[in-house]
C-alpha cells in the first residue's frame, strides 16, 4: 500500500524495507530521518524514554554493509523500531516506567530483542509506558505521560502509549508493545494505529519484565496490517527459555495479511460487548465496519459470551496477585533503586523504604490488592474464584469459536480521553479494558485496527478482532480486508489524517 510523498518517516515498513533492499534508500538514511523526526517532535509527544542515536546508526550501517556485501536481507532489515521499555536489551536502560529501575542496565537481551537484532531491525530506543505496565494512559509512568499525536492534551492509551504514540507521530514505523489486559490494543485504538496481541505463548516472554505472567504477551505494532504481520512473523515462535511458549509452527500471518479475504467467513459480534455504554462515535464506526465486512462477503452473527461480564473482576484479582509476587524482587538488594542504606536501617527497613520510594501509587495499589487476594483465608474466595471465572471465559470463547471464525467488538469504549481526566478514578480507568481483557484471560489472539474517527471528537476509533489460540492468521485475514476496504473508501490510511506536529 504506497504512501505518497518522499518523507521517509511517512512510509510503511514494507516500503522502507524494499527501498533498502533495492538500494533506493540506505538504512542509515532511513534511520537518520526517524532520529531527526524524534528530535523535532518528541519533546511534545514524549514517546521515548531513551534514544540511542549512535547505536541505531551503527546497526543501520551494518545493514547497509551487509547489502553491499551481497547478503540477502530479511523482510524488515534496516527498518527502525521503537521498543517498549519493559523488554530487556543488553546494556540499555530498561526502566519499565519506574523510578525503581531508573539506572538499571540489563546484562542480557530479551528473546524479542534477539530476534529483532537477528532480523536486522534497527532499534531506535525505548518507549514510555505506565509503570510496570499498570495503566491505560501512560499517566502512571514515573517519567511523565506521553501525548497523543492526534491531540497532545489527550492520552495515547496505555500501558504501551509510548510505542503507539511513536507510530502515530511518525517517529518509527514499527514498535513492540506488551499486552496484559489491552496494553497493545487500546493504545492502537486511540492513536489510529494497528496492534496485535498474539496467542499467549506465541511470542516468548523471556526478557519481558513480568507484570502478570499468565496474561502478559509481547506483540507487534505498526501503522498497517501488513507491517504488523511482517513484524509478528519475526518475533513469534518457540523459545525453550520460556516454558509457556508454544512449540508449534507460527501461523502464516504474512500470507493472511496479503490474502485480505473474508469471503465465506463467519464473524461473531460478542453480544456482551455490542456497543452498550460505548461512546456514540465508537459504536457508529463499529457498526459501519460490520457492514463493510458483510459487504466483503462475511456472514455476521451475534454470539453470547455470558461469562465476559465477570472478566474485569477476575482480571483485577489475577493480575494484582501475580504482580504482587513478580514485583517482590524490587527490594533494593541487588539492582535498581536502594533507599536508606546509611548504616542506621535494618535490611527490612531498607527494603521497605526502597519500595515506598520506588513504586508509584498505582503499583502500590495493585501490590496491596494482590497481597490481600493471595492471603491465607482469602485465597479461595479471590484468586481461586477468579481462576474459575477464567475457565468459564475460555469455555465461552471455545463454544463461540465452534460457530464463528473470529469474534469482533470495539477495542475501547471511548476515544482518547484528556490527560488527567481519569487519573484519580482507578475504576473508570480499569473500565477502558473491558473489551480487551477477556482475550488475555483466555490466552487468545486479538488485533485492534483503526476504522475511522468518531464524528463527535474527530479522534480515532479501534476495531477489535479476536481469534482462537494459534489462529492469529485469521486476525490478519479480516484486518487486512477491512483496512483495504477503508483505504479504498478514504483514498488513504486513517493515520494520514493525523495533524502535523
Amino acid at each position: 500500500m504506497p504512501i505518497t510523498g518522499s518523507d521517509l518517516t511517512r512510509q510503511t515498513a514494507a516500503v522502507l524495507a524494499e527501498a533498502i533492499r533495492t538500494g533506493e534508500a540506505s538504512a542509515v538514511e532511513v534511520t537518520q530521518a526517524h532520529l531527526d523526526r524524534i528530535s523535532s517532535v518528541d519533546d511534545r509527544v514524549h514517546a521515548f524514554l531513551y534514544v540511542d542515536a549512535e547505536a541505531a546508526i551503527d546497526s543501520a550501517r551494518s545493514v547497509d554493509a551487509k547489502r553491499s556485501a551481497g547478503e540477502v536481507l530479511g523482510p524488515l532489515a534496516g527498518v527502525p523500531l521503537a521498543l517498549k521499555d519493559v523488554l530487556t536489551m543488553r546494556g540499555v536502560p530498561t526502566t519499565c516506567g519506574s523510578r525503581m529501575l531508573e539506572n538499571w542496565r540489563p546484562p542480557y537481551d530479551s528473546s524479542v530483542v534477539e530476534r529483532l537484532r537477528a532480523a536486522d531491525i534497527v532499534i531506535l530506543g525505548k518507549t514510555n509506558m505506565d509503570e510496570f505496565a499498570m495503566g491505560s494512559s501512560t499517566e502512571h509512568s514515573a517519567y511523565g505521560p506521553s501525548h497523543n499525536p492526534w491531540d497532545l492534551d489527550r492520552i495515547p492509551g496505555g500501558s504501551g502509549g509510548g510505542s503507539a504514540a511513536a507510530l502515530a507521530a511518525f517517529e518509527a514505523p514499527l514498535a513492540i508493545g506488551t499486552d496484559t489486559g489491552g496494553s497493545i490494543r487500546q493504545p492502537a485504538a486511540v492513536t489510529g494505529t494497528v496492534g496485535v496481541k498474539p496467542t499467549y505463548g506465541g511470542v516468548p516472554r523471556y526478557g519481558l519484565v513480568a507484570l502478570a505472567s499468565s496474561l502478559d504477551q509481547a506483540g507487534p505494532c505498526a501503522r498497517t496490517v501488513m507491517d504488523t504481520a511482517l513484524l509478528h512473523s519475526i518475533i513469534a515462535g518457540y523459545d525453550p527459555r520460556d516454558s509457556t511458549s508454544i512449540n508449534a509452527p507460527v501461523p502464516n500471518v504474512v500470507a493472511a495479511a496479503a490474502k485480505a479475504d473474508v469471503r465465506g467467513m463467519r464473524i461473531g459480534i460478542v453480544a456482551e460487548l455490542n456497543g452498550e455504554g460505548y461512546q456514540a462515535g465508537v459504536a457508529q464506526r463499529f457498526r459501519e465496519s460490520l457492514a463493510i465486512l458483510e459487504h466483503l462477503g462475511a456472514e455476521i452473527v451475534e454470539v453470547g459470551c455470558p461469562s465476559f461480564e465477570y472478566a474485569l473482576g477476575a482480571y483485577y484479582l489475577i493480575l494484582p496477585s501475580e504482580a504482587s509476587s513478580n514485583l517482590a524482587r524490587f527490594d533494593g538488594m541487588r539492582y535498581g533503586l536502594r533507599v536508606g542504606d546509611d548504616g542506621s536501617h535494618s535490611v527490612e527497613q531498607v527494603m521497605s523504604l526502597t519500595r515506598e520510594a520506588g513504586f508509584g501509587a498505582e503499583v502500590k495499589r495493585r501490590i496491596m490488592l494482590g497481597t490481600y487476594a493471595l492471603s491465607s483465608g482469602y485465597y479461595d474466595a479471590y484468586y481461586g474464584s477468579a481462576q474459575k471465572v477464567r475457565t468459564l471465559i475460555m469455555r465461552d470463547f471455545a463454544s463461540a469459536f465452534e460457530s464463528v471464525d473470529v469474534l469482533v467488538s470495539p477495542t475501547a469504549p471511548t476515544t482518547a480521553f484528556k490527560i488527567g481526566e481519569k487519573v484519580d478514578d482507578p475504576l473508570a480507568m480499569y473500565l477502558n479494558d473491558i473489551a480487551t481483557i477477556p482475550v488475555n484471560l483466555a490466552g487468545n489472539a486479538a488485533m485492534s485496527l483503526p476504522v475511522g474517527l468518531a464524528p463527535e471528537d474527530g479522534l480515532p476509533v479501534g476495531f477489535q478482532i479476536m481469534a482462537p489460540p494459534m489462529a492469529d492468521d485469521r486476525l490478519y485475514l479480516v484486518g487486512a480486508a477491512l483496512e483495504s476496504a477503508l483505504y479504498d473508501q478514504w483514498g488513504h490510511l486513517l493515520i494520514e489524517e493525523a495533524p502535523a506536529l
Binding site: 519484565v209 499468565s214 509457556t244 539492582y335
Partner: protein, 507 residues
C-alpha cells in the same frame, strides 16, 4: 513456671511420663550438574557469585525452565519411598522477603507435590534385638535453594546486629528435594533412635539412587525436627519445629533435648509454644526462634511461569526400571551372604560402613575381618577426628593388602593396627608405611632363637619349669621375646621355636 523447677527431665524418665510424636522435614541437595531452573553449574565451593545467571539471580524478565534430571531424580526417590507419583502437578511460589532470595519468592511445590503417601522402613537396635519401624512419608517435592548469607560483625552471627552481610547466590537455584514424613507415633524410648535411623536410611537411599552424594558437612542434607509430647491416652500435644539440624548426631540430640525440655515444661504445668527453634551443633541444644503465632503467610499460588508436570506412565515405568537395589533389600541379601545376624549388620550400617565392608569383601577379605576393621579400629579413628568413615584415607584395597600380609605372617594384628595408623596419618599406602616404620614381622629363625636364648638365660627358673613339663609357663618367655622384638614377631612361632629348643611338646 517456678524457677525451682528443673529445665529438663532426663530422657528416659521423660519418656516414662510422656509419649512422643515426631515428624521430619528433610531437605537434600540434588547432585544434578546444573541448577533447578537454569543451566548454571552446581559445584560446591566456587568463588562467590561466579555460578550465576539472569535466571538464578532473578533478574527482571528472566524465566525459569525446569531441570528434567531433577524431576527424574524426584520421581525415582518417590518410587523408592513407595510413593504415588502425581499424574499432574504444578510448582508454586512461596512468597516472602529475604535478601538471600533473588526473587523474594521461592519456586517450590505446595498442595500438588510430585510424590505423596509413601513409607520407609527403618531398623533400630533394641535390647530385645533389631526392631523395624515404618515411617510414613507425606510427600516428596522439589524446590530451589536460596543464596547463602554471611553476617559480619555483631555478636550473634545473625542478620540482626551484623555490621554488614554478604550474599553468595551460587547456591541460589540449586535443586532441593524436600521429604516430609507423616507424624510418627509410638516410638517411645526409641524416638531419638528412630529419627536418627530414618535420616541415615534416607541418606543411604539417596546415595544408592545416585541422586545426591549427601555430604552433610557441606550442608547438603538439612533437617527440621517436629516434636510433641502427650500423656498416654491423650491427644497429640503442641509441637515445636527445630531447624538447622544438619547431622545424624544432631538429629538424635535435637530429639533428645526437645523431649527433655518439653517434658520439664509440661510436668511443671506449663505449655509448649508452637514455635520454630534453632539447633546449635556446638552446645547440642536448641534455642527459641520466632513463634508460629506470628508466622508468615507465604501466599502460595501456582507458578505461572512454568507449565504443569504430567509424567506419563511410560516415563515412570522407565524410571522405575532404573532403580538400583535399595538399601533395605541389600541388607537382607548381605545378612544371608555374609552369614551374619541383623544385629551384626546393624553395627555395620550404623557405622556407615556398609559399602566399605562390601567393597572390602569384594577385594578378597573375609567378612569377619572386613567388619572387624571398619567397625572397630577405623571407626574409632573416624569418630576421634569427627569425620565419616568414607572420608578416612584408608581404602578397601588397603585392608585387603594388610590382611594378605597377616595371612602370610608378614604382619600380626598389632602391627596391622600400626600400619593403619600410618595410612591415616598420611604416611602413604600400606607398603610405604611398613617400609618407613620398619614394621615387618621378625620371621628370621636365627634372630628369634637368639632372642629366646637370651630370655631363657634371663629367666633360668622359668626355663627349668618348662623343661620339667610345665608348658604353660612358656608364656613368660614368649612375652619377653615379643617385648625384645618390639612386637614384630609372630607369637605362635616364638612359642613353637621355644618348645622345640627345650625339647618339649605341647601337652
Amino acid at each position: 513456671m517456678s524457677t525451682a523447677m528443673p529445665e529438663t527431665i532426663p530422657y528416659d524418665e521423660a519418656l516414662n511420663l510422656f509419649e512422643p510424636v515426631f515428624g521430619l522435614e528433610v531437605h537434600v541437595e540434588m547432585g544434578t550438574n546444573s541448577k533447578m531452573f537454569c543451566g548454571c553449574p552446581t559445584a560446591f565451593g566456587g568463588e562467590p557469585n561466579t555460578q550465576v545467571c539472569p535466571v538464578c539471580l532473578g533478574l527482571p524478565g528472566s524465566m525459569p525452565v525446569v531441570n528434567r534430571t531433577a524431576v527424574e531424580s524426584t520421581i525415582r526417590i518417590g518410587l523408592a519411598l513407595n510413593c504415588t507419583i502425581a499424574e499432574w502437578c504444578r510448582f508454586a511460589r512461596k512468597n516472602y522477603f529475604y535478601p538471600d532470595m533473588p526473587k523474594d519468592y521461592q519456586i517450590s511445590q505446595y498442595d500438588e507435590p510430585l510424590c505423596s503417601n509413601g513409607y520407609l522402613d527403618v531398623t533400630v537396635a533394641t535390647a530385645e534385638g533389631p526392631k523395624v519401624v515404618r515411617v510414613e512419608i507425606e510427600r516428596v517435592h522439589m524446590e530451589e535453594d536460596t543464596g547463602k548469607l554471611t553476617h559480619t560483625g555483631g555478636a550473634t552471627g545473625r542478620i540482626h546486629g551484623a555490621d554488614y552481610s554478604l550474599v553468595d547466590y551460587n547456591r541460589a537455584g540449586i535443586p532441593l528435594i524436600e521429604i516430609v514424613t507423616k507424624p510418627v507415633a509410638g516410638a517411645g524410648h526409641l524416638v531419638a533412635d528412630v529419627a536418627k535411623a530414618y535420616v541415615a536410611e534416607l541418606r543411604d537411599l539417596m546415595r544408592a539412587l545416585g541422586v545426591s552424594d549427601v555430604r552433610m558437612e557441606e550442608g547438603s542434607l538439612r533437617c527440621d525436627v517436629n516434636l510433641s509430647l502427650n500423656k498416654p491416652g491423650s491427644p497429640m500435644g503442641t509441637r515445636s519445629e527445630t531447624k538447622n539440624v544438619n547431622s545424624l548426631r544432631s538429629v538424635e540430640r535435637a530429639v533428645r533435648s526437645e523431649v527433655e525440655r518439653q517434658s520439664a515444661l509440661l510436668t511443671a504445668g506449663g505449655r509448649v509454644v508452637q514455635e520454630t527453634r534453632h539447633f546449635h551443633e556446638d552446645i547440642g541444644r536448641s534455642t527459641s526462634g520466632r513463634s508460629k503465632e506470628q508466622a508468615e503467610d507465604y501466599r502460595y499460588f501456582p507458578e505461572p511461569d512454568l507449565v504443569p508436570i504430567a509424567p506419563s506412565a511410560v516415563w515412570i515405568d522407565e524410571l522405575r526400571s532404573t532403580l538400583p537395589e535399595l538399601p533395605s533389600a541389600k541388607r537382607s541379601r548381605l545378612e544371608a551372604e555374609w552369614g551374619i545376624t541383623p544385629f551384626e549388620l546393624a553395627t555395620v550400617v550404623n557405622a556407615g560402613a556398609l559399602d566399605l565392608v562390601e567393597e572390602t569383601i569384594e577385594a578378597g577379605v573375609e567378612s569377619a575381618a572386613a567388619r572387624k576393621w571398619w567397625t572397630g579400629e577405623l571407626l574409632r579413628s573416624a569418630n576421634d577426628q569427627g569425620i565419616e568413615l568414607a572420608d578416612l584415607p584408608v581404602t578397601p584395597a588397603h585392608i585387603a593388602r594388610v590382611e594378605a600380609l597377616v595371612a602370610d605372617g608378614s604382619l600380626n594384628d598389632k602391627l596391622a593396627r600400626q600400619v593403619f595408623e600410618g595410612v591415616i596419618a598420611g604416611e602413604g599406602d600400606v607398603d610405604e608405611v611398613i617400609a618407613s616404620r620398619g614394621l615387618a614381622v621378625v620371621s628370621d629363625d636365627t634372630a628369634l632363637l637368639a632372642a629366646i636364648d637370651e630370655a631363657l638365660v634371663a629367666q633360668p627358673d622359668v626355663a627349668e619349669k618348662i623343661r620339667s613339663g610345665k608348658v604353660q609357663a612358656a608364656g613368660a618367655i614368649v612375652g619377653a621375646v615379643m617385648k625384645s622384638t618390639r612386637g614384630q614377631a609372630d607369637a605362635a612361632k616364638v612359642r613353637a621355636l621355644l618348645l622345640e629348643r627345650l625339647g618339649v611338646t605341647d601337652a
